[in-house]
């Protein structure tokens, strides 16, 4: 279906179509579609734009990736469907490895995602089939399997659109975990080392830009960015922004006139 250019929710509907297309290509799980809807709601509360607190988190996240010895980007179905080219570019510019890791893991879906990333320029995708031969202490059995060249040895893991259990498991292993989550109250958001409260389709392109800039900085500068970052403060600012927006809207006239 073609969405009119002047539709007020055009962007949001186009993103939905990408996910539906991803589902049809066996990249996205049905549960991933419902999960996306929940994120949409918080994006709405954020005014569907990137705020200052997200920019601070993006800067710290990129500094972590650039400082890391073994940075890894963990890719799930929704991420692959929404920002395949961007996630490949981010891996390229930060020197991170790409690894497929799925909540609802099937061999077919792993392979479909890896293929999709390859079509968008990835040179290597870890975590597919026999490559996921190592195991980590994780609640959900299918996610225990990781690549010994990827998540197993990673010091910094970027897990966009992940859940709380996964984030906690990786943190317990001593890893720095970077998450993208539109809900600042989710367990993922509260458990990550750096939480980017933003829509992944806006955040990842900004991460690429930031990485190109920060790459020319020396390590001292990057370490300073990391040291000065306060995730609790960032989450509070995100929550305050949502509260402020709701407060503003609740005091004005809400009903619209169709005439």
């Amino acid at each position: 279906m073609s969405i009119p250019a002047n539709h007020p929710r055009r962007e949001s509907l186009l993103i939905r179509e990408k996910l539906v297309e991803g589902y049809k290509r066996n990249i996205v799980a049905l549960e991933g579609l419902i999960a996306h809807g929940r994120g949409e709601c918080f994006d709405y509360l954020l005014g569907e734009k990137t705020h200052g607190f997200a920019l601070k988190a993006i800067r710290a996240a990129v500094a972590h990736l650039l400082l890391a010895k073994h940075p890894v980007i963990s890719v799930n179905g929704n991420t692959a469907a929404l920002v395949p080219r961007e996630i490949v570019e981010l891996a390229e510019v930060t020197g991170a490895k790409l690894e497929v890791n799925l909540f609802y893991r099937t061999r077919e879906r792993e392979e479909a995602i890896a293929k999709h990333l390859m079509e968008h320029g990835a040179r290597e995708v870890l975590g597919v089939g026999d490559d996921a031969s190592a195991t980590i202490p994780e609640l959900f059995s299918e996610r225990r399997r990781v690549s010994p060249r990827g998540i197993l040895i990673a010091d910094v893991v970027f897990v966009p659109l992940e859940d709380g259990d996964r984030t906690e498991a990786l943190r317990k292993m001593g890893k720095t975990v970077i998450a993208v989550d539109l809900n600042p109250l989710s367990r993922t958001a509260r458990m990550a080392s750096v939480t980017i409260v933003d829509n992944i389709v806006r955040a990842v392109p900004l991460m690429i830009k930031e990485a190109i800039q920060l790459k020319s900085m020396n390590r001292d500068k990057l370490e300073e960015i990391v040291r000065n970052y306060d995730n609790n403060r960032v989450l509070q600012e995100a929550l305050e922004t949502i509260l402020e927006r709701l407060r503003e809207l609740s005091s004005s006239q809400l009903i619209l006139q169709p005439y």
Copy 2:
């Protein structure tokens, strides 16, 4: 998958299963699953219960339906999947006609929904195939087609789970529009004449109860209910409730320690 009786999110998971089942039976569109996720989030913010503002809207909505000359209930995939028996009963008790009207319209889905409603006791379902022979001024071409015995001539239309464009188009035609929407800030919620900010699975059974009570009232009383109803106030109360709950949820320290 069987969900344990004591699972904290049991209700919510059972509703999801109904939608996934509806998808497999060609009643629900993939986009409908995403839209449901979005609603889930707002239901969470509302504490997953029916509030006073929703009860007020339900009362006004039912009064409108009972006063109407040509009341019509517009049914989409999610509504049919979630409350098929209840929506048929509501039509029965208020004397409203049922009409299928879909954002993502296909002949197969129209028929699957009509069949589903028939299986749940509907005696007539408008808007299927050639019956949708009239057109109304609408942005999306597929939704322009309505039944000349239904939405075309309706003075009151109940459009649970609809979008803003549809609501606006119907209001522009001078119709009274009743919506169910968990998001009090959506264009649908703000554009409708009466907005029930509640989960459809809780709201429709309450509408049936209310209709049985209000049916014994005379027209003057019903007109008084309609006259005294203030949709702006109802939306403000819904927003204030969400604000209050977000405030509660936000503790001073947001970050969690995995150790």
